[in-house]
């Protein structure tokens, strides 16, 4: 069922949903950008459809909703340990096709890699309803089409903003009631981006030639990359984390085990206890990331990790283009 709903009415639906759902969407945080007087667009809870930013790409992906930047695993109180169990509401996430596809990569790791499921992820993930935000046009640095992530049918609701009106497809019928009498039926199916300005060809090999390991193509990144890790933190697919135990400062008897995002580009990520660092150079880290995103993940999960959202390129302070790096790699092979 598809309907055309006015913003005001949509807000009422959202208000109604709020008792059951935390609704997340990309919103604008005024003057919270990296530079003064610049804004930040990130995922946060909304209570009005007006809060959603449609015309710009968010800096951070929605992954932090289901894979929080900091996530407590256990609390320790004296000798006792308590598993931290999330009791939050269900979540409804407004997001785009690339990010929906991105979340499937997270699912691969957290739910399918190895024997065990990551229960912390699983618990959050299971609460999620996807609301697809239709992309009216390709943003800077997007290359979803090349990555086959421009499309998805993995959503419950899809939406297009048309000035003050919203075209809504309710794919999961359980949401039909919500929209009943809220707008006229229309013939709406979300459209997907069919072409990006940026086109990427991923390496199409069974096995990466060993020569790539020390290939000079990586060398430039030693000088260019500053290991800031933004390509990891803004990536929808990056799922690495580091666990830490702490005792609280106010009472050392109490503490927690938590995990935080980490990333292969960040200093210390590949350090062993004792100090050995496997990937010391920025070139080696770039190689690791690149191969992971467009080669070895695929060997394991039959799809590339990278979904071409382009956030790495949007945010690299050193203007390193990942799409260009992929193409360079492919060309070399």
């Amino acid at each position: 069922m598809s309907v055309m709903v006015e913003g005001g009415k949509l807000d009422k639906i959202i208000l109604g949903l709020n008792s059951e759902y935390d609704i997340y969407a990309p919103v604008l945080k005024e003057k919270r950008g990296r530079f003064s007087d610049t804004d930040l667009i990130k995922y946060d809870k909304i209570s009005s459809i007006e809060e959603i930013v449609w015309d710009k790409k968010s800096t951070y992906s929605p992954k932090e909703i289901i894979f929080p930047i900091t996530q407590r695993l256990f609390y320790f109180t004296g000798d006792k340990q308590t598993e931290v169990i999330d009791n939050s509401k269900k979540t409804m996430i407004f997001l785009r096709a690339c990010d929906i596809n991105g979340i499937s990569r997270l699912d691969d790791i957290f739910l399918k890699n190895g024997i065990e499921k990551d229960v912390y992820y699983q618990r959050l993930r299971e609460k999620v309803t996807f609301v697809l935000m239709e992309c009216s046009s390709s943003f800077d640095n997007c290359f979803c089409v090349s990555m086959n992530t421009n499309k998805t049918d993995n959503y419950s609701i899809a939406m297009r903003k048309d000035k003050d009106q919203y075209l809504v497809e309710i794919k999961d019928e359980k949401y039909n009631d919500l929209f009943k009498d809220k707008g006229g039926k229309v013939d709406f199916q979300p459209q997907f981006i069919e072409e990006n300005a940026i086109k990427v060809t991923t390496p199409d090999v069974e096995e990466m030639p060993q020569t790539i390991y020390n290939h000079e193509m990586w060398d430039e990144y030693n000088a260019r990359c500053t290991s800031c890790g933004r390509c990891n933190t803004t990536c929808i697919g990056c799922s690495c984390f580091t666990s830490t135990d702490i005792a609280y400062e106010e009472n050392e008897e109490v503490g927690e085990r938590r995990r935080c995002w980490s990333g292969c580009q960040v200093d210390g990520y590949s350090n062993m206890a004792g100090g050995h660092e496997f990937r010391k150079t920025k070139a080696s880290r770039m190689r690791f990331k690149t191969l992971h995103k467009v080669y070895d993940f695929k060997k394991r999960f039959n799809k590339n990790m990278c979904v071409g959202c382009g956030r790495c390129d949007d945010n690299c302070p050193e203007y390193i283009s990942f799409s260009k790096c992929i193409n360079k790699l492919t060309e070399i092979i």
């Binding site: 699983q122 990466m208 060993q210 135990d245 062993m272 992971h292 070895d296």
Partner: protein, 265 residues
């Protein structure tokens, strides 16, 4: 609610064996029965967690040989018998015993690389005819770094055992001086095709020892290595131990060298 794979077991420390200044073996009470070469995630809550190879196992206990290299291991070293360690696991694949059966097995270890193969050696020691022949080669930095001295002597009774130190520090202790690669030639290398070489130790030691054996005709696929990485979750989630498409905590730490050498990190 699904079972939480991050959950861990509280285990009493049964014995502490001080091997060197910085290497202790802790025997803890647990019912797990790890394979040879597997590891556990060992922790002290509010301090941290680390992957530690299982270096011994028996009825109701395992042994963990721990090297003091960081905050957690320093804290562990402060524990006494009767205190507790917290573990989850075992993780990793462990050695495939079947492929060793009736083969000439060479086990080459460097430094604390001896720990993960200790249970395997003891198995071979206790099952004398499982392998057709066993050679042991262990390299340490200096005489005082030599681990499992008593067992090395014991093993030496049955197996050809070469112990080397990089620097003898002027002590003539019956050990050889130099890298173990130097002594590969001293191993009886008659039956290349059936020889199984297990190498455990630092990355470069493993690489050059493997190359040395290959020089003498041992096939890559008969060489087995054990990777050390900072396995953290042990569950294939956290990403720290990933090399190429492999997750060391899931697919390793034991790899056939022909697979291992091709992994692009």
């Amino acid at each position: 609610m699904s079972k939480n794979p991050f959950d861990f077991e509280k285990c009493e420390i049964l014995a502490i064996d001080i091997l060197t200044d910085i290497e202790f073996t802790f025997r803890i009470a647990t019912s797990i029965t790890p394979n040879h070469g597997q590891f556990c995630q060992v922790s002290i809550p509010k301090v941290g967690e680390a992957p530690i190879s299982v270096s011994g196992a028996g009825e109701g206990w395992i042994e963990l040989t721990i090297r003091s290299v960081g905050i957690l291991t320093k804290k562990i070293f402060e524990l006494k018998i009767g205190d507790f360690l917290y573990i989850r696991g075992p993780y990793g694949n462990g050695f495939d015993l079947d492929i060793l059966k009736d083969h000439h097995v060479v086990i080459a270890g460097g430094g604390s690389g001896v720990a993960p193969v200790r249970t395997l050696i003891n198995y071979l020691y206790n099952n004398e005819n499982y392998a057709s022949s066993v050679d042991l080669m262990f390299g340490f930095k200096t005489p005082k770094d030599i681990l499992f001295k008593d067992e090395l002597e014991k093993w030496g009774d049955k197996f050809n055992t070469i112990i080397t130190v990089d620097d003898a520090c002027g002590v003539d202790d019956g050990v050889c001086e130099g890298l173990i690669t130097k002594y590969v030639k001293d191993i009886k290398l008659s039956e290349f095709s059936k020889m199984k070489v297990i190498i455990v130790g630092p990355p470069l030691m493993m690489k050059f020892t493997a190359l040395e054996f290959m020089k003498y005709g041992v096939n890559k696929d008969n060489i087995i290595v054990s990777f050390e990485r900072n396995m953290s979750c042990g569950l294939g989630k956290c990403g720290h131990c990933k090399i190429d498409e492999k997750y060391v905590c899931l697919d390793g730490p034991i790899f056939s060298y022909d697979v291992a050498e091709k992994l692009i990190d």
